[in-house]
Symmetry: none
Subunit: 210 residues, 4 copies
DNA sequence: TATGAATGAGCCTTCATTCAT
DNA sequence: GATGAATGAAGGCTCATTCAT
């Protein structure tokens, strides 16, 4: 891990600091680092160093490492939720909506890959750290619900056969999970995987419809 | 603290707790534990305790924790490879072959879920622990190659449009990844996700073909 | 986090929260907290929170935590000295004087147990924190001297045999120490212990004189 | 705190170590250090350094600092109990028994003052550290009970007036507490305080009976 | 007068690992 | 082949204290 500029700061309050800015910086760096290295491997010192503060300073903003992690998740979830909801709004057709969600995911990945990467990491860390499990599950609920409703409405609209409901839901979740997992390192890869998912849903994965 | 097994044997076979058996036990327990908790969270003591030895004893079988992890992966890979290869052998059609692979995965999951779970965990741990990365990537190559060849042969046989090659490959990898990730805790879930993948490949995910 | 007191005053006296009041409040709360938890366990934040200020604010009133502790002791000593001196004034007989001192201690304990408790704690904290030792010993001198003089005068007055001087002194000090230590939690207990001490001095501890 | 000899020991098991001996050494040093500085101020490093091991080694013998503290108490209690019980055995008269107990305390104080000092410290630390309170109270029970029974039997034997029972008990406890508190630093002081207590019980504190 | 942001030192604890036995 | 005693490094966290505002 590279270390930022080496400014041996003195005691006391640093001149002209914007507390909110520092908090945002910590969250962003924490997201990136947690995303790549996971909860365990990432140390408070890693995050603090990159954010240009001391490990103790983190405790000014978050009560514990676990709370910081949860805060990062909440932050990420709120962004993704907004993006996904904006994406589907105004679109009625299931295929269009699903495309829009995948495209939104891809755009976000282009802007800042750390979101997808982190969200992928959370699923693993939640399993590995029971202490945070409840909080993490709760924070993930919105997206979970979003996908369920997407399918529910598609069934209601007749875009998905009622008998296929749970299969389609399973497909969506598996695909979304697989996407963050396999492809978030490489944008081209990501694009291909998205195209594949769209095609699969349309029934033209193996070949274009004749 | 002394441990179990202290039954004064008289007749029959001499103490069967030979070193090979102990090694196998350690590997199996390590797989299960690494699978659930990951590399970092799992301690040598966790594994040793469950295996009925002291942490120091592990060092008779593996030079380090990292080496143990790699050994578990090699062991798992070799089993999965065999299963997958057996599954496709004798089947020419791509859809049949893919089905067979998924079914094999499901059967294995029923027998011992720790394999799939561990293989899922490896993808994450490899990213998180650069020291082991090379060894892990190498050990994972066989499966990677297996999937690539599956698609390659399907293209050659005309089962997959040449232009869709990379998309199908991407789909397979994403699905395989998503499967270990989302569904390995719950066999029913796993089965549904597999059905969804099969259906997706056949173009009938949203509804049965009329 | 902002705090209490925000009643828009209109008429009458201007904001009475002058600094002297704050200082007194800090001293009182520090005494109570130090008394129960001791020097080490009590944090600046504990005291500040209860006093309705920030930890940094303490430094406007006292140069350091240690200085605050010493200030609390000086404050307590001055009160106890006054009480004890008032108690003995006008009484010539040793037994009467000693009774008066014990009664004064009991009354104070009823009014505000934190004084006795704190004074008891000081004996321990002085041993444990060499940095404060000198200052603490000095501040405790008045009471020490008070007891010595009490005995001295009793010997001079013939109330105590000259040969028993150091024994009586020792008894007084041990009793005073034991009292804060064993009984300051429970007023009834305190009263019994005081009765015992009075009785012991009169030679009727085991039974009433026949 | 002075530090013992500086022997930079290497990794692995040191040659010819007696585990039991190390444990005893740790307990003894912990007792002395806890006695003087208390639970909070004493660090694992303090104890470890003096015992010639690293702080981590303590965890080989005790699960935590708190457990070590409790272990020290149990060890001390068991010794004191034995001494006190031996002291009273064979003596029927209350005054004789009480004298014997005080003498035993004095002898022990001469042999190793850290016992009395530690026992005095426990009363304070138990108040200051609620987490250990239950364990500490329980460990102190034997001595508590010993004193209660001493008085009970004295009442039964007619050595103490029934109406004076609780006062005598209070006196004993206060004195025992005051003794560890005030006088354990200085053997002469200790002796005087003990003489005073004996005299007080006999009713001849102020002067020899005429 | 008081706050809030930040630091540096230090503490308890855990862990992979070593080595004499 | 296995254990138990011990280490060194590191991690999360707390705390007294400082200083710009």
């Amino acid at each position: 891990m590279p270390r930022a500029a080496k400014k041996p700061r003195k005691l006391g309050r640093p001149p002209a600091t914007d507390s909110a800015e520092t908090r945002r910086r910590i969250l962003a760096i924490a997201r990136e680092t947690f995303a790549v290295h996971g909860y365990e491997v990432t140390t408070n010192r890693d995050i603090a160093n990159q954010a240009g503060v001391t490990p103790a300073a983190l405790y000014h903003y978050f009560p514990s490492k676990a709370d910081l992690y949860v805060a990062v998740l909440e932050d990420a979830q709120s962004l993704v939720s907004t993006r996904f909801n904006d994406a589907v709004s105004g679109r009625a057709n299931f295929l269009e909506r699903f495309d829009a969600v995948l495209d939104a995911a891809h755009v976000l990945n282009g802007e800042d890959p750390s979101y997808a990467r982190f969200l992928g990491a959370v699923r693993i860390d939640a399993r590995r750290h029971p202490e945070m499990r409840v909080a993490l599950d709760e924070a993930q609920l919105p997206t979970q619900k979003f996908v369920v409703e997407l399918v529910e409405e598609a069934v209601a609209a007749g875009d998905v056969a009622r008998s296929h409901r749970s299969m389609v839901l399973s497909f969506l979740l598996t695909t979304l999970a697989g996407l963050t997992d396999v492809a978030s390192d490489d944008l081209r890869h990501h694009r291909t995987a998205i195209a594949a998912a769209k095609s699969a849903l349309r029934g033209s994965l193996l070949a274009d419809p004749r």
